[in-house]
């Protein structure tokens, strides 16, 4: 668990330093994607802290939508190893947002590439400020 967490943070920082150190605007955007992948994975990791099972209510696992038929004997052992659904639900929204922002940035870069074919960040900055 700890190793995983460390690896995820390494991913985030790889992405972050990519945004700073890469000269090409396109590479910067891809670095940002790496960073956001790291953050998303971190949410998945947080979700597994309670267990790995898919959080879907199933009668054979002792849980049902109709709580009347829950077998209380199984519940104690069964319910606890569900993955936490809340971070997963949350990160789904963030994935969609990240994806749309990514798309928008790529469109912007496409537009810029017409007059700045190298897409070098410092060049674009010099000619536009």
């Amino acid at each position: 668990m700890f190793t995983l967490e460390a690896l995820i943070l390494v991913t985030v920082f790889c992405g972050f330093f990519g945004i700073i150190l890469k000269k090409n605007q396109m590479m910067k955007i891809i670095s940002m994607d790496v960073m956001s992948t790291g953050v998303i994975t971190f949410y998945v990791l947080v979700a597994t802290s309670t267990g790995f099972m898919t959080p879907i209510a199933l009668p054979e696992r002792g849980v049902s939508v109709d709580s009347a038929i829950v077998d209380s004997a199984i519940v104690d052992s069964a319910i606890t190893d569900y993955a936490d659904p809340v971070p997963q639900a949350v990160i789904l929204t963030a994935i969609v947002i990240g994806f749309s922002i990514q798309a928008l940035m790529l469109v912007g870069v496409m537009k810029l590439s017409r007059d700045n074919p190298t897409l070098e960040c410092s060049e674009i900055e010099r000619s536009n400020t």
């Binding site: 985030v12 972050f16 945004i19 700073i20 605007q25 910067k28 955007i29 940002m32 960073m35 956001s36 953050v39 971190f42 949410y43 947080v46 802290s49 809340v86 971070p87 639900a89 949350v90 929204t93 963030a94 947002i97 990240g98 749309s100 922002i101 928008l104 940035m105 912007g108 870069v109 537009k111 810029l112 007059d115 700045n116 960040c121 410092s122 674009i124 900055e125 000619s127 536009n128 400020t129």
Partner: protein
Amino acid sequence: MMATFTLFWITLPLFVGFGIYLLPKLARVLAVAVSLVSLAYGLWHVVYAEPMAVTLIDSFGVSLLVDQLSGFFVLTNAVVTAAVVLYCWSSGKSTFFYTQAIILHGSVNSVFICADLISVYVALEVIGIAAFLLIAYPRSDRAVWVGLRYLVVSNTAMLFYLLGAALVYQANRSFAFDALTGAPAEAIALIFLGLLSKGGIFVSGLWLPPTHGESESPVSALLSGVVVKTGVFPMVRFALLLPEFDPLVRFFGVATALFGVGFAVFAKDTKRVLAFHTVSQLGFVLAAPAVGGFYALTHGLVKSALFLTVGKLPSRDIKSLKKNPIPTSLWIALAIASFSISGFPLLSGFGAKVLTTKNLLPWQVIGMNIAALGTAISFAKFIFLPHTLSSQDQAKKVPGTGFWLAMAVLLGGLVFANIFYYEAYTLSNTVKPLVTIALGWLMYLLLFQRVSVKIPRVAERFDHLIGAMSLTLTFLFWMVLA
């Protein structure tokens, strides 16, 4: 009942925003109508200051909190949006522009009533997208680049924020604002980094001057008037809900007030003076969180009025404006707004300054007084511009009805907002701002008018903006631990 109306009000801009595409002829009317609904909603919460907390669906659902503070921010958003739409009324902007403006309006509103970290995140990201589309609206290379810069900076900041939110959840199994209490220091540092960058506070605010300076005037007015306040609002909320964050927020208030005004005093470009000054004024909102709402209202009205007026001036360079007199009618608008922001009595900027000063802690007073003096100095640049009554060729330069309607709304709002804090008008309260202004003008005429200091713009370069985030993060971490 009120909860139902809140839901209706918060979804209305989104429906109308997309609906505008079906009814392109009504775009402007609908846009103004939406801001009028917000105006009514904001006024209601300012006047009947009954806090209302709602949790939607279930224990992990979206939580909302509406109180007087939200009311003031919503009011700001409503008035500024209405004024900007009126300003653009006959400028031939396409339906797309109004759609984005209204979606921006709606998402800004939702930040002001959200009470959990994830809803704030979603709203801030929607704001980022809508603001990018508005900045890039002219579709010139420069506009696209400025927008892209903004989007990358804001998205990187929001990724840090998201990481912080995950750590908060890990610690307390909740995304609500109160869950920050027991959260680890790194979580708080990450969340504050996101909000500081988004709100343009202190060093993290260096992206703001180029962005606000290079955008079109109506977009600058929206960005400076309301959009940056969405980064500031959650911090004000933290400081009020959770007393342990109060010192941190107040510290950043003073730091950014001095930082921004230091740049504004030396800037030679009108739009950059205004943008740096926004960085400084947000400090006044943070310095006294309890009364930040009223300050945000007056600042939002003034700053958008100034951006709209400056956009109509023949030049952006103060030196060349000094040589060619501007039309007196424009100068009057400029002067009223400058007087308000300097804290001159009769305009509500005065009441806001008095109220903020009363709520400062002793260690903040010196810093904020220097910032107020700096404000007076930087706006003396506008007040002392030469002007003439319109002669033949000047008449062409005077803008049309839309501009004056927008000014009437914004400047009228400034006078009207006095009623929220009419207690400010006592003799002892009045003397201090007058002395500050007199001193500021004196310093401007004798000293600052003559010196010419060029502050290098190297820190505003894209790579440095992102790099500064890592420094800010380290600094924040150290501050939270302390």
